[in-house]
Every structure is written in C-alpha cells, then in structure tokens.
C-alpha cells in the first residue's frame, strides 16, 4: 500500500539541519566572528567597568541612586542595600556583575529588536501571522538544541550566551508590544487619524504612550526570561551566577545552589523595581516645572557621565594588565574534573601562564575543544563514557592519551543491600535502576546490561541527572531503602556513603576506563610549552581523590590544588620539565 510507505519513510529533517548548521558555520564564519568580537569587547568593557569599583562603594552608590530614584522612599534603597550586601557576603559579587552584564545586553537586544517587531505586528495582520509561529518556535525550541549551533557560530563565552538568551527572552516583548498597541481604544486612533498624523506621529504620540503599561509588562517578562537563561548560558561558557548554580548542583549542594539562585532573584527584584519606575500609571507622575526638568536633566546627565567614566577607567586598568599568554581550560563541573583541572591550571599558572577556567556542559565542551574555543580539557573518559563524542569529534582534536588510568563504571548499591552481583538482582529496588542523564556513557552501558542479563529483563532504567541520582541515593540511604544506581568512580559518593559495585560477569558495564587529556588541534604550534606540560600530565586515582577530599571538606579548589602541588614537588617537576 502506497500510504503505508509514506509513513515508513521518515523525513530526513535531522540530517538537513545538521547540514545547514555545517554550512552556516563554514560559510558565515566571518560574519559570526565579527559579531563575536564586537559583542565580547562590549561586554568585557561593561563587566570590567563594574568590577573596577570596590563592591561596597558600588553598593552604596546604587543605594543612593535608588533613594533618589524612588522619590525618597525607603523601600527600594533598603532592598538594594540589603540584597547586594547579601550577595557580596556570599562571595558571589563577580558572578553577579557578569550576570548583570549578560542580562543587560540580552534584554537590551531583545527590546531593541522586539519593540519595532511588535509594532510592525500590531500594524500588519500578515506580519502577525508570520511572526507568531516564529515566536512560538523561539520560546519552545529547547535551548539545548541551539546551544551547540551557538557554539559553532560564536564559540564559547558571553556572546553565545546572549544569543541563546535573546532567542528565549525576545518573544514577550514582541507579543506584548503587539497586544498593547492593538488594545488602544478605537476612538483615540480615530482622533489621531482625523488630524492627519503620520504613522510615526501616531506611534510616538498615541500608541507607545498608551500601550506603555502592557509593553513594560512584556519587557519585564523578557528580563525575567533572560535571567532564567543565565544557567543555560553558563553551559556554553558565559560567566556569571549561572556557573555557581550549575557547579553547586553538579555536587547536589542544594543550599549553595539556592544561594546562587537567590543572588539571581535579588538581581531580578532590583532590576524589576528600578524599571517599574518607568511603568507608572499614566497620570501618576506630577508635572515637572521647567526648573525641575532642568535639574532632572543635570542629574541624569551626571549619572550617565559617572557611569561612562567608571566603565572607561575600569577598562583602562584591565587593558594595561594584559600581557601573559593564556591557556583556556574547559571542564565539566564534576568533582573529579574540578580536581584535575584545578591542579593542572595551578601548575600552568606557576609556569607563568594566565589560565582561564571555563565550566561547560559535556557535549559543549567537546565541541569547544574541537572548534578551538577551548585549548584543552583533562577529563575525557575513554573509551566508553565519552566514546561517542570522541567518535564524532576525533578528527578535530588531539588526544594526548590518558592522564589517569583505570577509572570504573558499574552498577552500585548501598553496602547494606544483600546482593553482590548483577546476576543476583531479582526484585530489589522496585526493579528499577536509578540512572543519570539519558545520553551519558554509563546510561548506555546500563541499558546494555539490562538486555544482556535475563534476570533483568523486566527491570527498568529510570534516567534523570547526576544530581538527581545522588539525591535519590541520599534519600534511600537515609530511609535505609533499596536502590541500585549507575555508579562511577572516582566520585565522592563512594567516600561519603558505604557503597559497593556489583560484579558484572558479562562485562556489559564496560571494562574500566581511562581519563584522557584532549587538546585543540593546533595547540602544539600555538602554545608549545603548555602543550608539553599537558602532554606530560599524568597522575593516579589516589592523587585525585586526595584533592577531591580536600575540596569536599570545604577547601577552595584552587587552595586544594596548591596544597597537592606543594606536597608532590617531584611529580609536578616531571610534568613541567
């Protein structure tokens, strides 16, 4: 039957998209580079400026601005002061400033694109019919999907972060500009028409002022969504609070993550309250006398000048600082990688390099090494865990071989469970294996295991995330329940809880793996010294676990790395010679 055939033929959309991305990456590289350079220059400029002022001074200045901005009420300044002090107190100041820059730029771009687009939509039903599904697309296409093209286009950092944020955050501004203008009473539109207003006059004297409350509500949503994208943006290397959140969560430190999140919320509330000033009901503002107006103008001018001055100064300072060759290390924010990356970073620093650490989502990280936006990473689990990524990118990067041999994947259970081998499993733990991310290597291995062992054929694998898995584990252990997890070591859970690997007679969980160092293709020519050190870097599971332990006990990763280096001078010397 012909009909049946049509449906068994799957449209090759996926393939087309891959090709399109490739085509864009290769053919529009110049254009993307331009945007990337310009964008990061601008954002660096702002962030540097913000970070130039001592935090406490900036906090005080903002509080004063809030005081005058809110007509000398006390709520907004109090909120500003306490909120920012809290962020500062929690050590999240730098993150906050980075995030602020990201959100500021993303929101501005969204507003600058969104309002005209919304106006156009409001005036033209055909445009509306076309734009609406595009907006739906932008809001519902999962960010994860365009993160990788974003990296392909813009590398890693703030710029792709802004790109991703704008895609998600733009629609509300457009939608509500459209709605606001369409809701304007007909008789007022008639009044402007009757006087022969041009579309522009109509827009500025009637439509925008009347639609203002609705448009501002849209902009508010845009800002909120831009803030909500901060974490996602951090997966492609945008610095800021998102990173703090992500890193806390990879370790299932709910509290720490919450605090970083809280800093975001504080930022949101302060931005919201500051922008609310623009969104007062039409007639609430008292009419200014010319004198007041002049005063107003002087104040606003002064503030702007001050801002520009500070930004300029900050950048002047940072410009004069740059000199050293940099090495850009990427890592996935897992305990083991944090340990190894910090150690090698510290070693490189000690050798006079400026080292930038970027925590990335795993797939993004590989992509970044492959396209050279990251110089190296020291946490490639091969051949199994990251095997497929390796297969995909191996032509575009250099594998320097293992730096740590014999890590392990396997099914693990709490020690109190009365089972030792996978083939002994029958109806424990509701016949469920608690897994991590669906795409992880260990997940694939677990799937294979389910198939291979006949005693597991009515078991299921419930995938979630590493964080979720450790929480589930914690919960089970607290309640002394049965649980089977997909485990891998080195991992702190083996230090924290009494766990045991189940033996795997069929070896479907994969034989033990190694952790490799991979570097971008031309690192050897670009930065031979760093290449040499990275190439020589190799240590053992015990080394790594000692660093991990220190970090887990509350030492900062950098301190822990320094401590380990101090304690192992010979070993380090071997790497750098």
């Amino acid at each position: 039957m012909e009909f049946v055939d049509i449906f068994s033929y799957k449209l090759p959309i996926a393939h087309l998209i891959d090709q399109l991305t490739n085509w864009l990456t290769t053919n529009c590289a110049g254009f993307f580079n331009l945007i990337t350079k310009g964008g990061s220059a601008l954002m660096d400029f702002i962030t540097n400026g913000l970070l130039f002022l001592p935090p406490l001074l900036l906090i005080v200045l903002l509080t004063i601005a809030a005081y005058f901005g809110s007509n000398r009420h006390f709520k907004l300044p109090a909120l500003t002061l306490l909120g920012l002090l809290f962020v500062y107190n929690q050590g999240l100041w730098t993150g906050l400033m980075n995030t602020f820059t990201l959100v500021l730029i993303a929101s501005l771009v969204s507003i600058i694109i969104g309002i005209p687009l919304g106006i156009w939509m409001a005036k033209n039903d055909k445009v509306q019919a076309v734009v609406k599904p595009i907006l739906d697309f932008m809001q519902t296409m999962p960010a994860f999907v365009y993160l990788i093209p974003a990296v392909a286009f813009f590398g890693i950092g703030m710029v792709p972060g802004v790109f991703a944020s704008v895609i998600f955050a733009l629609p509300p501004t457009v939608r509500f500009t459209n709605l606001g203008i369409r809701q304007i009473p007909k008789e007022l539109v008639e009044a402007t028409d009757a006087f022969g207003s041009t579309p522009k006059q109509k827009l500025f004297s009637l439509e925008l002022p009347m639609a203002k409350p609705t448009i501002w509500a849209g902009i508010n949503q845009t800002i909120m969504l831009a803030l909500s994208m901060v974490v996602t943006a951090s997966m492609i290397g945008a610095p800021g609070l998102g990173k703090d959140v992500l890193s806390a969560l990879q370790h299932a430190n709910i509290g720490t993550g919450f605090v970083a999140g809280l800093a975001l919320v504080i930022l949101a509330i302060i931005i919201d309250r500051f922008t609310q000033k623009f969104n007062q009901p039409i007639q609430a503002k008292p009419k200014l006398t010319p004198k007041q107006k002049r005063k107003h103008r002087v104040i606003v001018g002064g503030i702007l000048a001050a801002i520009i001055l500070v930004l300029g100064a900050g950048n002047f300072k940072s410009l004069t600082q740059k000199a050293k060759p940099t090495v850009n290390l990427g890592y996935v924010d897992w305990d083991s990688e944090v340990a190894s990356t910090n150690v090698i970073a510290q070693v490189l620093r000690d050798q006079g390099f400026k080292v930038e650490l970027t925590s990335l989502d795993n797939a993004v990280l590989w992509k970044s090494v492959a396209n050279g936006s990251v110089d190296a990473e020291v946490g490639a689990w091969l051949p199994t865990t990251h095997g497929n990524l390796y297969k995909q990118y191996h032509n575009n990067l250099v594998d320097l071989g293992p730096n740590l041999k014999g890590v392990k994947l396997g099914l693990a259970v709490p020690a109190y469970m009365n089972v030792n081998s996978i083939s002994d499993l029958n109806d424990q733990a509701d016949k469920t294996i608690t897994g991590i991310e669906p795409g992880a290597g260990v997940t694939a291995a677990a799937k294979k295991t389910l198939k291979a062992y006949s005693n597991l054929n009515d078991w299921q694998l419930s995938t979630s995330s590493s964080g979720a898995m450790t929480v589930a584990l914690d919960k089970a252990i607290k309640q002394h329940q049965e649980i089977v997890i997909t485990g891998w070591s080195p991992h702190w859970m083996f230090a924290k809880y009494k766990l045991k690997y189940l033996t795997d007679p069929k070896h479907t969980m994969g034989r033990s793996e190694n952790i490799h160092t991979i570097v971008k293709k031309n690192l050897k020519t670009d930065n031979p010294k760093a290449y040499r050190i990275l190439n020589k870097f190799t240590w053992t599971e015990e080394d790594m676990e000692s660093v991990m332990l220190d970090i887990n006990n509350g030492m900062s990763p950098q301190k822990a790395a320094q401590k380990w280096i101090k304690a192992h001078p010979k070993q380090v010397k071997a790497w750098v010679d």
């Binding site: 008789e187 009044a191 402007t192 006087f195 022969g196 041009t198 039409i282 007639q283 009419k287």
Partner: protein, 395 residues
C-alpha cells in the same frame, strides 16, 4: 464647484450590504432592514453642497446618520458608495498620503465623544493638531494657549482630561480643533455638554471667528435655537436620508413634511424670527410735502391715530399723532415742529425676543429702519403675537 460637495453618499454598516441597499431602495424601514439583513443603514444617498465660509447645520433624530455623514467627510468612515469633493478633489478616492494631507491642512473635527488623549495634559491635547502639522514648539504652545484661553480653560492646562468635567472636556476638544485653524471644521454636537451661558459664549466666539476668517463649518446639533442662531443653512435628516435643506426661516416657515413640522415645533420663534419677518407696511406722512390736513385726512381714511413721519428719501423723522396734527393745524406750525422725534426704532434683523423689551409698554408701534435710516415697516403688538403662534396660518 463649491468647497464641499457630496454626491450620492451612502454608508451601510454590516455584512449584507447589497441586500440592505436593495431594501432601502424599496423604502423598507431601517429597523426592518436591520432585522432582515443585520445591516444598518447609516446614510443613504446624501447630496449637498457647501460654500466656502458657510455654516452648514445638520439636525435629525438620534441615530439618523448625522455622525456617520460627517465622519465620512474626512473619511474616518469609508463610504459604501458616493463621492465627496473637497475643493474639487474626491476624498473617497484619495490614497493615504493625500488623505493625510487633507486632514492635516484642510479639515479638522470636534468629536461627539471628545476623543481626548488621556495620557496628555490639556495643553498637550490642544497642541496635538499643530504638532502633527509640524508647527514649532513655541508657536504651537502660544496658539494652543490662546485657544484654551478663549475656551476659558487656561487655568486647567496642566491637568489631565480625566480631571475635568464633561463640559470642560468638550471645550478642550473644541480648542484643539480651533487652534489648528482649518478651512473646514466638522463639529459633531460640539456644544452639547455645555451650559447655556458658556454655550452662548462659544456660539458668539464661533460667529466672531467666522467674521474674521471665513471657515466652512459643518455643525451637528440637537438644539434648533442654536442651529437657527449660527447656521446659514440647515439640513434635516431622518433614517439616514436627508429630508430638507434650507435656511432656518425656510425650514421654519415652510417645513416640507409633517416630520419636519413636528421637529421644529418646539423652537423658540422669538429667537429666530426678526423684525423683517413680522413688520407690516407703515402709514406714513411725508413731512416735507404734506401739511397737517393731508395727514389728518390720511389718518381718517386708514382709521389710525398716528402716522410715521418721513422725509422725501423715506428717512424716518418721527411720529405724528392726531393731536399733534390738530395742534399744527390750529397753530399753523409746520409738521416738522410737532412730530415726536422719540420713535422707537429697530433694525430689520432684530430678533423678536429683543423686540419684547421695546414694544410691551410702547404706546406707538415700532419703526423698522435700515442702517441708512430708511423706514421699512412697523411692528405692532398683534403681529408679534401672531408670529409666535405656531398654528397661525402664516407665521
């Protein structure tokens, strides 16, 4: 070509316009058409011409299509069919840019529902038309303030429309249109929310402005007195159709059908009719020619006890009573010496209402003289009362 010409203008609201049009041609009533087709006849087959400088008043029942008609003139409503020529160009066929030009330069409107911008102050509202035309800031402020001043609202210029009373809002709408100084002014019940005093002021203002600069004004009102006071011509509409067009007097004295008769029944005729309308031929004596005997014999013939004294050029000189004539005959005085020079006079366009004051306790009739002092007629009490009677055969 007049400044404004309207030919066969028709507007049907709703979907089934064709069907409605057919029905209206068959004289089916508006409500009937609404029931049958769900379409409303706004205006059907309107034809009229308005000269530059004319004040053209539209009256009619509520819902008879006045606003629809006036709003088609500047194409706030697109006509279903018909032509609207302004200075010879068909508004109905203009493209957007031409239309904008016309609205900006030629034709402004005062809205029935005011149409003020809630987010602008009174002053900014008033400036709006000027702003649209690109008038410089200082200049436009000045013009707007002048317009507000004459609407007696300058004190409120920094308030917002919702802080003003209904009548004040209406005056802002008025000031906004007047500040713009258009050739053609469309005024949709522009005075309806005003009290009698301010209304009279505004009417005077309008008439004064009209003297200064000849504007063409299309004016909708429900107040017949107002219509008669300011309108050069009046048109009466019903159910979307124009029933009669004419001067106030024509309509009042010669209503074309019962509907119009009933419509104008309530009008205060004393504010419409003038001395001219009610004066009768005077009994005169030419004091330069006539002697007392001639005068007395004349009085006898006409059965009156008084004559008006005029000279050869029929200039009014005074009145001559029978006693005075007798005295002149007795004492051989020329008539010029005995006439009473205190004759009350009125001009031919004095309204009856203003005649009341003069005539009620006057023993003699009033003389109607033109601006050159020439005697045109006299007004006697009986005629005044007759003119005010509605059912008198001729008013």
């Amino acid at each position: 070509m007049e400044q404004l010409e309207v030919h066969n203008l028709t507007k049907i609201f709703g979907r089934k316009r064709k069907a409605a049009l057919n029905l209206v041609k068959q004289q089916v009533s508006k409500t009937e058409i609404l029931k049958k087709t769900d379409a409303t006849v706004g205006v059907y087959d309107a034809n009229f011409k308005v000269k530059a400088g004319e004040i053209f008043v539209i009256m009619g029942l509520s819902g008879s299509g006045k606003s629809t008609l006036i709003r088609m003139l500047n194409r706030l409503i697109n006509p279903t069919s018909g032509q609207i020529y302004i200075d010879g160009k068909d508004v109905a066929k203009m493209n957007e840019e031409e239309l904008r030009q016309v609205r900006r330069e030629k034709i402004n409107m005062v809205f029935q529902n005011f149409g003020l911008f809630p987010h602008k102050t009174i002053l900014e509202n008033t400036e709006y038309g000027l702003e649209v035309r690109g008038v410089a800031k200082e200049k436009r402020r000045q013009l707007a303030e002048a317009a507000l001043e004459s609407a007696n609202l300058l004190a409120f210029k920094d308030q917002y429309p919702n802080q003003l009373s209904g009548g004040m809002q209406q005056r802002v709408g008025l000031a906004r249109a007047l500040a713009n100084d258009p050739d053609i002014l469309l005024m949709d019940e522009a005075f309806s929310a005003l009290d009698p005093l301010i209304r009279r002021d505004m009417q005077d203002e309008l008439l004064n402005l009209q003297e200064e600069k000849q504007r063409t004004i299309i004016f909708i009102t429900h107040d017949l007195n107002e219509a008669l006071r300011i309108g050069n011509r009046i048109t009466i509409m019903n159910d979307g159709q124009i029933l009669q067009i004419g001067t106030g007097e024509e309509i009042l004295t010669n209503p074309q059908n019962d509907f119009i008769k009933e419509f104008v029944e309530d009008v205060d005729r004393s504010k419409v009719l003038t001395a001219q309308n009610i004066m009768t031929a005077p009994f005169t004596t030419n004091i330069e020619n006539d002697g007392p005997n001639v005068a007395l014999s004349r009085m006898r013939v006409e059965e009156v006890s008084m004559l008006l004294a005029v000279d050869k050029r029929r200039q009014l000189k005074g009145s001559l009573t029978a006693e005075a004539a007798l005295k002149a005959r007795k004492e051989k005085l020329p008539l010029t010496e005995v006439i009473d020079k205190n004759v009350k006079t009125v001009s031919p366009d004095t309204l009856i209402t203003d005649i009341f004051d003069l005539i009620y306790d006057s023993p003699t009739p009033l003389a109607v003289v033109n601006e050159n002092g020439r005697l045109l007629g006299v007004i006697i009490k009986g005629r005044v009362l007759e003119a005010l009677a509605v059912n008198s055969s001729e008013a």
